[in-house]
Subunit: 342 residues, 2 copies
């Protein structure tokens, strides 16, 4: 039989075992690994050899207990499979790795208890920091936080200061989108995606920007052109568009609060035989990859997800290292990506 014998037990190898084999103290093994203090070349070699021999790998739980950290950060979003969040998480995971952190994902699905749990630090000591894209949390609930795990909010700005936050200017984004439609001569511009969730949320801000742009363009505000949606899936956009058309309020343009809603709206417009953009122009927000391949391709407000992810991560890591500091609200510039739908 070739190959060396298989280890009797996969056994947990500890610093002690390595130390014994290398004929040094656990202290030294630890120092070789951490580089925290000088160790002679010769000793280092022996230690490394022993580590190799035994296939030693440090036990993270023990290290974490001792160091009072975990190397983990949590990112909590309403739904992982909503492309905007999936793309954002991708950037977060990449960035975290560069800083030696691993990412744990949580899905709140709009459940307040789930957001509460996240805000209260998940389980104590489970993560070093938290990135949360909130949906329903109110300011009061943040203030009741019984946990001091660093927390940075994404996307949605909670009313008032005092909480770290990274996102785009939602009022301006909606205004830019709506103005884009008005500039192209559209007069009856509908808005799909209004909501008034308990926490405040981005939807009212987008509605605000929409109305602001109408005003600037000298267009009347027609409430029948504003369609609220329960969620922000393709289905919601498709239904909202259908409802709008059924109501007889024929728009010549639609500003959708997210790309997913816009993609759903495109689907309905096609079914109803309406030409986009000739008869109805459509614009969304998020700049998800899907909009580059839809028929027609989708004009959108691009939030620069890589920058949002990186900025949020940097802010969070700063908080982890240096607690206590003035909370920051960072606004990331957005751009308009024109494509075929307008």
């Amino acid at each position: 039989m070739p190959k060396d014998q298989r280890p009797a037990t996969p056994a947990a190898v500890s610093v002690r075992d390595v130390a014994a084999l290398a004929r040094v103290s656990p202290t030294t093994v630890s120092n070789v690994l951490s580089g925290n203090r000088r160790v002679s070349e010769e000793t280092q070699d022996r230690v490394r050899w022993a580590i190799d021999q035994l296939g030693y790998r440090p036990n993270l739980s023990a290290r974490n207990l001792r160091l009072n950290r975990t190397g983990l950060i949590a990112v909590a979003v309403p739904e992982i499979d909503v492309p905007y969040f999936a793309e954002l998480i991708r950037h977060v995971v990449q960035g975290a790795r560069e800083h030696g952190y691993t990412v744990l994902v949580d899905q709140t699905e709009g459940r307040i208890e789930a957001e509460q749990f996240v805000v209260d630090g998940m389980n104590r000591g489970m993560v070093d920091g938290i990135l949360l894209s909130p949906l329903g949390m109110t300011r009061a609930e943040y203030d009741q936080r019984r946990d001091d795990t660093p927390l940075v909010l994404l996307g949605e700005r909670i009313v008032g200061k005092g909480i770290d936050h990274v996102g785009i200017d939602n009022v301006a984004a909606a205004e830019d989108a709506t103005r884009h439609l008005a500039d192209r001569g559209r007069r009856r511009i509908a808005a799909i995606g209004h909501q008034t969730p308990r926490g405040g949320g981005t939807a009212p801000q987008r509605t605000k920007g929409y109305r602001k742009a109408l005003r600037s363009a000298g267009l009347p505000y027609d409430p029948t052109l504003v369609v609220p949606t329960r969620n922000y899936h393709r289905l919601d956009g498709a239904q909202a568009m259908a409802d709008l058309l059924d109501s007889g309020a024929l728009p010549d343009a639609v500003f959708c609060y997210t790309d997913l809603l816009a993609l759903g709206a495109l689907h309905t417009l096609h079914q109803r035989g309406l030409k986009v953009p000739d008869e109805v122009a459509v614009i969304g927000i998020d700049d998800i990859d899907e909009g580059r391949y839809s028929l027609p391709t989708l004009t959108t407000i691009s939030p620069n997800k890589p920058t949002i992810a990186q900025t949020a991560l940097d802010l969070l890591l700063t908080r982890i290292t240096t607690k206590e500091q003035d909370p920051q609200q960072v606004v990331i510039p957005h751009t308009l990506e024109q494509r075929e739908s307008t």
Copy 2:
């Protein structure tokens, strides 16, 4: 000043503090929390009261060190923002929560070292189990695994037995897709997405199923109709379709190895003014939500992601509880979802 005074230090409250306040031993506090042994009602009340007073929450690192577990499972996929994976992860996260586990995500991006790292248990003691959707790992590399963290493979079957695996029958799936096209009278059926990665992978299996179906249908195998792609993004599908048309090999149907490729192909077909499905029929695999809203909607092979996620999770949790057991290869049935593109 109303409200009670803020705690001088957010201080780490430990079992010891709770025990002291409740006038019991740490042992008892621990037992109240775990329910591992009977504690008198009265004592329980005192302990719970103390916990509440102090806002105590157990330190996970310490518990993990003691219990030799973490309550974490890792799920590693090539790309988080590929809809198929995002949807799968969603189900995994949901299922894991039901079992009291939290999910840590990793993105391998097809890097062998990243897959190696995952297979070697990430960092020791960091996770209790691993779900990996591999890309390039070879069988030999699995055999060299220096770690015994339970591991279940998703999607891609590694050559040979000996490793837990959950996925669909890729040969049959490709065969069904191709037959569906042949059954509708298509004679020149192209295939987009062939690859021959080092680990083996699903692509060759899908090509095999494609050829098998051609044979059954009495159609000739034309290598010029098989277009390999570097990745499985929309862009790759769009380019492959363009290359195919440019080559002059006009197909009347296209079997794409994933929905994303198919969506890219649809984009190109539209640009070139070819009618789908009249002139060219298109089918994919994955059943991502996007295909229900594309123009036209996309016929696809649906892998039943909820079942895949749940089965993989169940298998993994079984391994975590009961190590040592015969490795299982579970094949999840797929279905064909017919939509407008065929």
